[in-house]
C-alpha cells in the first residue's frame, strides 16, 4: 500500500471510475442521436428503444454466434435502422406528435417482446456474461467521429436545409427541401447511433435486462440534448457529460436525479430554446 507506483495508482483509479468513464462516452453518443432527430424539428422518444435493439442484437451476436466485435458493432447499428424505417414510414407523414407517441409505444412493444422471447433474450433474467469488448478508446473514438461528422454536415448545404426545417417546416418545403427524405434520413441515422451506444453498453456492463431501455431512459436522453441545446453537435454531448457526472459528484442529488432531469427539460423548452450553450455553427460561405 505504501510503495504504490504511479502505474498501480492509475490502474486503481481507472478501475474505480471505469463504469462512469464508459457511461460518459456512451451517453454522449445517445445525446447526439437525439440531436440528430431534433435537428430536423422532430421529436423521438424511442432513442432508448433503438439503444435496446442495438444492445440485444450486439449481445446475441457475440454470445450465440461468436462474431468478432468489428462485425458486431455495425450490425448492431443496422438492426435499429431497419426498425426506424418501419416506424418512420407511416408516422413521418403525419404531424410530429404521432412520431413521438409511436416511439414511446415502440419501447413498450419491445419490452414485452424481450420478456416473452425467453428462448432468445433470457426473458426477465436478461442476458449476462457478455464479454467486455467495448474499450475506452473505441467508445471515445466513435464519439469523436460522430461529432466530427455532424459538424461537417452542419456546415454543408444539408445542414442549412435542416435548420430551415427546424425553423419552419412549411417554408422549408416550399423552398424545395425534400422533407420526407430528410426526416427519414435523420431518424435512421439517429437510430444507428443509438444502436451503437446500446452495443457498447452491453459490451461494457456485461449484463442487460428488458427493463433498462424504457421510458425513463428515453426521457433522460432527451434531457441531455435539451440541456446542451442543439445549436452545435458538441452542445448535447456536453449536456450528457454534465448530467451523467453531476449525480456522481454530488451524491445527495441522487434521489433528485429524475426531478432535476425533468426540470431541465421544462426550463430549457420554456426559457432557453437554444440550450445552455447558445453558440451556433458558422456556415461555410
Amino acid at each position: 500500500m505504501d510503495g504504490m507506483t504511479m502505474a498501480e495508482w492509475l490502474d486503481d483509479f481507472l478501475f474505480t471510475y471505469e463504469t462512469l468513464i464508459h457511461a460518459l462516452g456512451v451517453h454522449g453518443l445517445l445525446a447526439l442521436s437525439m440531436y440528430c432527430v431534433m435537428a430536423v424539428g422532430q421529436l423521438s422518444l424511442g432513442q432508448a428503444a433503438f439503444m435496446g435493439i442495438g444492445a440485444y442484437t450486439g449481445a446475441l451476436l457475440t454470445l450465440n454466434l461468436g462474431l468478432p466485435f468489428w462485425l458486431v458493432l455495425p450490425l448492431s447499428a443496422l438492426a435499429p435502422a431497419v426498425v426506424a424505417l418501419v416506424i418512420g414510414g407511416p408516422t413521418l407523414r403525419l404531424s410530429g406528435v404521432y412520431l413521438a407517441i409511436s416511439t414511446i409505444a415502440l419501447g413498450e412493444v419491445l419490452r414485452v417482446l424481450y420478456i416473452n422471447a425467453e428462448w432468445l433474450t433470457g426473458g426477465a433474467l436478461g442476458l449476462s456474461g457478455i464479454p467486455r469488448k467495448a474499450d475506452l478508446w473505441l467508445i471515445y473514438l466513435l464519439l469523436f467521429l460522430a461529432v466530427l461528422g455532424f459538424w461537417a454536415v452542419g456546415r454543408s448545404k444539408i445542414g442549412r436545409a435542416m435548420e430551415a426545417m427546424r425553423e419552419d417546416e412549411a417554408v422549408a418545403g416550399v423552398m424545395g427541401v425534400n422533407l420526407p427524405v430528410y426526416k427519414m434520413g435523420a431518424l435512421v441515422v439517429s437510430a444507428m447511433l443509438a444502436g451503437l451506444a446500446g452495443c457498447l453498453t452491453a459490451h461494457s456492463n456485461s449484463f442487460i435486462g428488458p427493463n433498462e431501455f424504457g421510458f425513463e431512459m428515453a426521457v433522460t436522453i432527451l434531457s441531455f440534448a435539451l440541456l446542451g441545446g442543439i445549436g452545435t453537435p458538441i452542445a448535447p454531448v456536453i449536456g450528457a457529460l454534465v448530467l451523467t457526472s453531476l449525480p456522481e459528484i454530488l451524491r445527495p442529488l441522487q434521489d433528485f436525479r429524475l426531478v432535476i432531469n425533468g426540470l431541465i427539460i421544462v426550463v430549457a423548452v420554456l426559457f432557453l430554446p437554444r440550450g445552455v450553450i447558445p453558440f451556433r455553427l458558422r456556415r461555410a460561405p
Binding site: 404521432y98 409511436s102 412493444v109 432527451l222 429524475l258 426531478v259 425533468g262 427539460i265 430549457a268 420554456l270
Partner: protein
C-alpha cells in the same frame, strides 16, 4: 366463464375510457398532448386518500374533493407550463416536451417524499363485496366505474353541444384567433378546459385507485401508456371514440389473457396502436383530422 370475462373486460375497459376522456379533451380543444394529465390522475387519488384517512370522509365526499383538487392543479399546471408557449405559438412538440419534463419531475418529487409503496383506502371505505348475478360477480365499485364512465361521457357531450361554455370551447377548438375575434375570452376558456379535464382525470384516479386498491405516485404513468393507445385508436380529440376504444381494448385484453395467453395481454394495446397508425391514423372512427405535414 365467458360472461364473467366479458364483465371483467367491460370494467377494465371502462377504466381505460374514464382515464382517456380528459386526456383526449385537452388535445381536442387545446391541441396539446399534455402529459401532466397522468399527474392529475395521481393527485386526485392521493387527495381522496388523505381526506379519507385524516378526516374519515366517505366516498361521496372524497371523490368530489379529489376530483376538484385535480382540476385546480390542472389549471395551475397549464398556466405555468403552457401560457408562454401558447403566446409564442410554439409547436405542439414544445408543449409535449414541457409537459413530459414537468410530469417526470412531479412524479419523482412525490416519490422522494411519499415513497413508492402502494397505499390503500381504509378497510371498509367502500363495500368491496361482490354481488352475484347467476354466475357473474361484480362489486359495487366496479358498477360505479362503469356507470360513471357512461354518465360522464353523456354529460360532457351535453356540455359541449348545449351550453354556452360548450360553444366557446368548440369555437376555441376550431380556431383560436377566430374565437378571439368573436369576443370569446380565450384565457378563461382555456382554464375551463384545463379544469374540466383535470377533474375528469382526478375522478378517474379516485375510482380506479379504489377498484384496484393500489395508489402510488407512478400510477398515472402506468395508465398513460394505455391512455396513448386509447386516444390514438379512438382518434385524437374524439370523446366518443375514446369511450369505444377504451371499452374495446379492455375486453380484448381480458379475452386475450383468458383464452389465448396472459403473456400476450400486454401486447394487445400496442399491436392495435401500431396497426391504427399504419392503416388509419385518424383513428377508428375517423372524425378527428390528423394534421398532415
Amino acid at each position: 366463464m365467458l360472461s364473467q370475462q366479458l364483465v371483467n373486460g367491460l370494467v377494465l375497459g371502462s377504466t381505460y375510457a374514464l382515464f382517456a376522456l380528459g386526456f383526449t379533451l385537452i388535445f381536442g380543444v387545446l391541441r396539446v398532448i399534455n402529459l401532466t394529465y397522468g399527474f392529475y390522475f395521481t393527485i386526485g387519488a392521493f387527495v381522496a386518500l388523505t381526506v379519507a384517512r385524516e378526516f374519515g370522509a366517505n366516498i361521496w365526499v372524497a371523490l368530489p374533493v379529489g376530483a376538484l383538487s385535480a382540476g385546480v392543479v390542472a389549471v395551475v399546471a397549464d398556466w405555468v407550463l403552457l401560457t408562454r408557449l401558447r403566446r409564442a405559438k410554439a409547436g405542439e412538440l414544445s408543449s409535449l416536451m414541457v409537459t413530459l419534463g414537468a410530469v417526470l419531475a412531479l412524479y419523482s418529487l412525490m416519490a422522494v417524499f411519499i415513497g413508492t409503496d402502494i397505499q390503500r383506502f381504509p378497510f371498509g371505505f367502500v363495500d368491496n363485496t361482490a354481488i352475484e348475478f347467476g354466475s357473474i360477480r361484480i362489486s359495487l365499485v366496479q358498477m360505479l366505474i362503469v356507470g360513471t364512465t357512461f354518465v360522464l361521457v353523456a354529460v360532457l357531450f351535453l356540455l359541449l353541444q348545449r351550453t354556452k361554455l360548450g360553444l366557446m370551447i368548440r369555437a376555441l377548438a376550431e380556431n383560436e384567433d377566430a374565437a378571439r375575434l368573436m369576443g370569446i375570452n380565450v384565457g378563461l376558456t382555456v382554464a375551463a378546459v384545463s379544469f374540466l379535464s383535470g377533474t375528469l382525470g382526478g375522478a378517474a384516479g379516485v375510482l380506479i385507485g379504489l377498484n384496484f386498491n393500489a395508489i402510488q405516485p407512478f400510477m398515472g404513468e402506468h395508465m398513460m401508456l394505455r391512455g396513448f393507445a386509447v386516444i390514438i385508436i379512438g382518434g385524437l380529440g374524439d370523446i366518443r371514440g375514446a369511450l369505444i376504444a377504451g371499452v374495446l381494448l379492455g375486453v380484448l385484453e381480458v379475452l386475450t389473457a383468458g383464452y389465448i395467453s396472459s403473456n400476450a395481454k400486454e401486447a394487445v394495446a400496442f399491436t392495435i396502436l401500431v396497426l391504427t397508425l399504419w392503416f388509419r391514423p385518424v383513428g377508428l372512427f375517423g372524425r378527428a383530422q390528423a394534421k398532415r405535414a
